[in-house]
């Protein structure tokens, strides 16, 4: 699980900021190796060190950094395979939103040791939806902000997102302003050479 998270961060830095930046992050975080393996496990403290180093070097706050990571995971060409898996969530953005509580189970079905924090989705009326997150992966709600933003574009929906601290931890308020605002990106049920270019 932690291997996937770390590998995703590495691909994000490499594709957005370049290979040199990744090497500087590796040095600053004192990893002792250059590449994370998605299928291996790592101490979560290693992830913290990498994010600290990245944050220092870019001068970007943690929340913004994680949100960019989430956007990257959906919208970058190298992550097309992941976008496809997310698009299986529903045929429009609202269906996708309402299917998010199944995301941890779906992830575990694909890989038994992949345990995402629980997500609860409530339709609070007036096209307002509230997402709450369980524990387990610090900063997960910020990554989800980026994922939601990119997925609403992907579906061609216009949605307003607000990240806030609720009584039970971080939550995201989604206001679906227009479900078919733009054309969105295409999706067919079978892939056309979709790969993760890791």
């Amino acid at each position: 699980m932690q291997g996937f998270v770390n590998r995703a961060i590495q691909c994000f830095v490499r594709d957005i900021y370049g290979e040199d930046r990744w090497r500087q992050v590796v040095d600053a975080a004192q990893l002792g190796f250059t590449n994370f393996e998605a299928m291996l496990n790592y101490d979560p403290a290693v992830t913290e060190r990498v994010l600290d180093a990245l944050q220092d070097q870019l001068g970007t706050p943690r929340a913004a950094l994680l949100e960019d990571l989430g956007t990257y995971l959906v919208s970058d060409r190298n992550m097309e395979a992941l976008r496809r898996l997310l698009r299986f969530g529903g045929s429009d953005f609202e269906e996708f939103l309402l299917s998010l509580d199944e995301l941890p189970d779906k992830a575990r079905l694909a890989l038994p040791e992949f345990s995402l924090p629980s997500i609860s989705v409530s339709d609070i009326g007036g096209r307002h939806y509230l997402l709450n997150f369980g524990d387990g992966l610090p900063g997960f709600s910020f990554v989800m902000m980026g994922i939601l933003r990119a997925m609403s574009d992907d579906y061609g929906a216009l949605a307003l997102l607000e990240h806030r601290m609720g009584d039970a931890g971080p939550e995201i308020l989604v206001i679906l302003a227009d479900a078919s605002f733009a054309a969105g990106r295409g999706f067919s049920l079978t892939p056309v050479g979709a790969v993760i270019n890791g």
């Binding site: 393996e37 998605a38 299928m39 898996l85 045929s91 049920l189 079978t190 993760i196």
Partner: protein, 320 residues
């Protein structure tokens, strides 16, 4: 009582891939997904125009249709490129309802017919199956990449374990591995032991960097003066071994040994100053031994090497 149209509408939503026939085998309705599969232009009247029975019995005629009720069937859709569907038939009043689904060819079928999630029932797990097959392929790919990288790292580690870091020659471990391969191959070979003379003076007088420079230069000479399929190793310190392959007489080894002795004798100019060393060489041949024992051959070559040393250094001795 529900109207016929009401029934068909409900069926279309509950199971878009279905057909309804009467007891004579005439089709009275097809679901929207089945319509998509067969194309609007195709005319169909009888079940047998549309389907061929595969199971329970191949080419069973569509008669005594009520006998099919309650059974799981395999029906082949008569298209230019046929598609086999799983079917379940139930009787409702004077109608037969055939609920249909794709088998494990689902991924190909979705691509072939351009199906989307609206072509499946809301409770149908087909979409979930497609998701899983993609997720599975993805993680399998990651595992495959991981094992390729591990395999590469393992090979690199093996090469490193057999290589002398300073000179890039084989090390003692590499030599041992090569010798044991050679012993099993049964071919004739020669072992040439080489020891530098006056090397300690270089280290003491000009420092270890100069010593390393001499060793590197010697390694270059040994590599240049041997043939491509010979093996050169540094066994530690100033001791080298050459395994000469395919040697059935002493002439080749003698010539190579002479050139090595001559070239190493030449003064070497290093950043730290000029060095003079020489090489004592002793060679033994497998063809002159009754037993093909590598250990014994090395001992013979060592004895020849000591002979060269005691004869005044900077020379070679052949044990023939």
């Amino acid at each position: 009582m529900v109207s016929k149209d009401g029934l068909f509408q409900a069926l279309d939503q509950l199971m878009p891939l279905h057909a309804v026939a009467d007891f004579d085998g005439q089709i009275v309705h097809v679901g929207p997904t089945l319509a998509k599969l067969i194309g609007q232009r195709r005319s169909y009247h009888a079940l047998s125009d549309l389907f061929r029975v595969i199971k329970p019995k191949k080419d069973r005629a569509f008669q005594d249709l009520q006998g099919l009720a309650g059974r799981t069937l395999m029906l082949e859709l008569r298209l230019e490129q046929p598609e086999v569907l799983k079917a379940h038939c139930v009787v409702l009043g004077d109608k037969l309802i055939f609920a249909l689904s794709f088998g494990f060819t689902i991924v190909d079928a979705v691509r072939r017919f351009g199906l989307s999630d609206s072509d499946f029932a809301a409770t149908d797990q087909t979409i979930g199956m497609l998701y899983l097959s993609e997720a599975y392929a993805l993680s399998l790919g990651e595992f495959r990449n991981l094992s390729l990288r591990l395999e590469g790292a393992k090979r690199l580690a093996e090469v490193e374990a057999h290589t002398d870091a300073l000179t890039g020659l084989f090390n003692r471990r590499g030599l041992d591995a090569a010798l044991s391969d050679l012993q099993q191959s049964g071919q004739e070979f020669a072992i040439m032991q080489i020891d530098l003379d006056h090397f300690k003076q270089v280290n003491d007088g000009l420092g270890h960097a100069a010593g390393d420079g001499v060793l590197t230069r010697v390694a270059e000479i040994l590599t240049l003066e041997t043939r491509k399929h010979d093996l050169v190793s540094r066994n530690g310190g100033d001791e080298f071994t050459i395994v000469l392959a395919d040697v059935t007489d002493s002439a080749t080894a003698e010539e190579i040994g002479n050139r090595i002795v001559e070239r190493i004798k030449q003064p070497m100019t290093l950043p730290q100053g000029e060095c003079r060393v020489s090489a004592s060489v002793g060679t033994a041949f497998s063809f002159s031994q009754d037993i093909r024992d590598v250990e014994a051959l090395i001992e013979k070559a060592d004895a020849s090497l000591y002979q060269s040393k005691s004869d005044g250094r900077g020379r070679q001795t052949l044990h023939v």
